[in-house]
């Protein structure tokens, strides 16, 4: 099927400068390999959407690819702050970035609304909170039955969403399982969707209500074993906690960051991910 391709083509044919893009994953199944490929292809001026921007967005911001960040929690999970993002926000290095900040509830609802083809998400949120005063994208809507004032935010409609999943069948239908986050919504909300998978199998052979994305919702699939590292792929390999701890040190210093990125991203290949998870395999 033409939906299968290599990661380089999957990225170059679906991502463009100035795009609004989501690389989604909620701690689990983060599409690191796809993000590194985007870094190698040196895209510029991206609006990056993600509930939990972590290491990959720290890397893309540090490499100067981001015009704007739309997010709800920007931390290195279990470790601390994002030092490249801080450097951009606090010191404009390598350049300043715009911030559009939400709560998790707002972001999750905005993806859900995007997947649902709606222009906005409506939920009970931000009561008493400070964000509506600093984010003009947070508005309200009044229930026509009760008069209750509810929060409204624009639906997320990325130009392209990238996700990593456990497997695809030969037609290109994709299975995600475990902590599935907002990935289904991110794919369905986007104009184009790129998926990296651990493997391709004859049949997904799973539960009738499992989280499956039909092949016709996906623009391109690339097989990248280990492609979530240092995040994890449930049933394949564990989270590389030490890599997250290490990132805190790397990101603390501009020069160290730059040389690490050259060695581990710019001069690396998608195929390198497989070796990074050998010691983390759990099957």
């Amino acid at each position: 099927m033409t939906i299968f391709t290599n990661l380089s083509k999957a990225v170059s044919e679906n991502l463009n400068d100035n795009d609004t893009v989501a690389f989604e994953g909620f701690t689990h199944l983060i599409p690191h390999a796809a993000a590194h490929e985007a870094i190698r292809q040196q895209f510029k001026n991206l609006t990056l959407i993600r509930m939990t921007p972590d290491v990959v967005y720290d890397q893309m911001i540090g490499m100067g690819m981001a015009k704007k960040l739309v997010f709800s929690y920007a931390g290195n999970p279990g470790v601390g702050l994002l030092r490249r993002m801080r450097d951009a926000v606090e010191n404009n290095w390598p350049h300043s970035i715009e911030i559009e900040e939400h709560s998790h509830a707002a972001m999750a609802n905005a993806y859900e609304a995007g997947a649902s083809g709606l222009p906005c998400a409506v939920f009970r949120g931000y009561l008493g909170a400070g964000l509506p005063a600093v984010n003009p994208k947070i508005k309200s809507i009044t229930c026509p039955f009760t008069g209750e004032k509810l929060a409204a935010v624009p639906a997320h409609k990325p130009d392209v969403s990238f996700i990593h999943a456990q497997k695809a069948d030969k037609k290109g239908n994709v299975l995600l399982e475990g902590i599935i986050g907002v990935q289904k919504e991110a794919v369905l909300a986007a104009k184009r969707a790129v998926v990296t998978v651990e493997e391709v199998v004859d049949s997904l052979d799973t539960h009738s209500n499992a989280c499956i994305l039909p092949h016709w919702t996906i623009s391109a699939i690339a097989i990248v074993p280990g492609g979530a590292h240092p995040s994890y792929a449930h049933g394949y390999y564990d989270r590389d906690n030490s890599a997250y701890l290490e990132w805190d040190k790397i990101a603390a210093d501009r020069d160290l960051f730059t040389s690490w990125m050259k060695e581990n991203v710019l001069d690396a290949k998608p195929e390198d991910f497989a070796a990074r998870i050998t010691h983390l395999r759990n099957i």
Binding site: H28, G78, A105, L127
Partner: protein, 258 residues
């Protein structure tokens, strides 16, 4: 009571674990809340339902997760739902009895800041942001907060209202149309605090063993109120301490092995 020595971190976690009940449905923040919730589950509340915002419902991790979405949480959960469902059906749906939070900055009315230190547009320190906290604070039936006391974090005025506690106190929550109780307990490394019935200002109701009023006051950026009938928090029991230490040890081994 125990013959084992314990430190103030342990006292905090154990005191926090005691306030949970067996039929609570608890939305668990990472860090100190996560430890407290799991100690509760491993001691007096074996059937407590722990929910993490990654979508795991009824999880029973054998080790503490490093992140909010560790595989361990899913492996041991009753079920794992999508994040939109988590925030719509389970949190906003009013199914959670207790939201357990921590903070970078806290004021005496239980308002929380995890967004910025300094001005929002030109921050001195850009913190991670609210994540789930803004709606946890308004949708859970009540909020417990646990964190270590320090002048840096217990401030007279927070720099940003990430999550609304009791606002300026009194009936401020109700005036905003919030129907849930908000912060009803604060458990620190030094004391247990509860909001004053009228003013909603956090008041020290119990000092941990060997802690003085001065220690409490010296680590807080406002004039502290103490309850008339100030109590002393019971020391950790041997069982509580053993459970906590074994949990921490299992966690240490699991997260460094890799």
């Amino acid at each position: 009571m125990t013959d084992l020595k314990f430190n103030s971190d342990e006292m905090m976690t154990i005191a926090a674990s005691r306030v949970l009940e067996n039929d609570d449905v608890c939305f668990v923040g990472i860090g100190a809340p996560s430890a407290a919730c799991n100690v509760a589950r491993l001691t007096h509340s074996p059937d407590i339902t722990l929910i993490y915002e990654s979508g795991t419902i009824g999880t029973e991790p054998n080790v503490l997760p490093l992140s909010i979405g560790d595989g361990e949480l899913c492996d041991t959960a009753l079920t794992t739902v999508s994040v939109p469902e988590m925030f719509r059906y389970w949190l906003q749906g009013g199914r959670v009895t207790v939201g357990f939070l921590s903070a970078a900055q806290l004021d005496k009315f239980g308002n929380i800041n995890t967004t910025v230190v300094g001005d929002y547009d030109h921050p001195k320190v850009r913190l991670p942001g609210g994540g789930g906290a803004p709606e946890i604070a308004s949708s859970c039936q009540e909020i417990f907060i646990t964190m270590k006391q320090s002048k840096r974090s217990f401030v007279d005025k927070i720099d940003f209202y990430t999550s609304f506690g009791h606002g300026e106190g009194g009936d401020h929550r109700q005036r905003l149309g919030i129907t849930t109780k908000g912060p009803t307990l604060l458990i620190t490394d030094l004391a247990i605090w509860k909001p004053n019935h009228e003013s909603k200002e956090f008041t020290v109701v119990s000092l941990h063993p060997n802690v003085t009023r001065e220690q409490v006051q010296n680590s807080v950026g406002w004039q502290v109120s103490f309850a008339d009938n100030l109590e002393t928090t019971p020391e950790p029991t041997t069982n509580e301490l053993n459970v906590l230490r074994e949990l921490n040890e299992r966690t240490r081994i699991a997260h460094t092995n890799k």
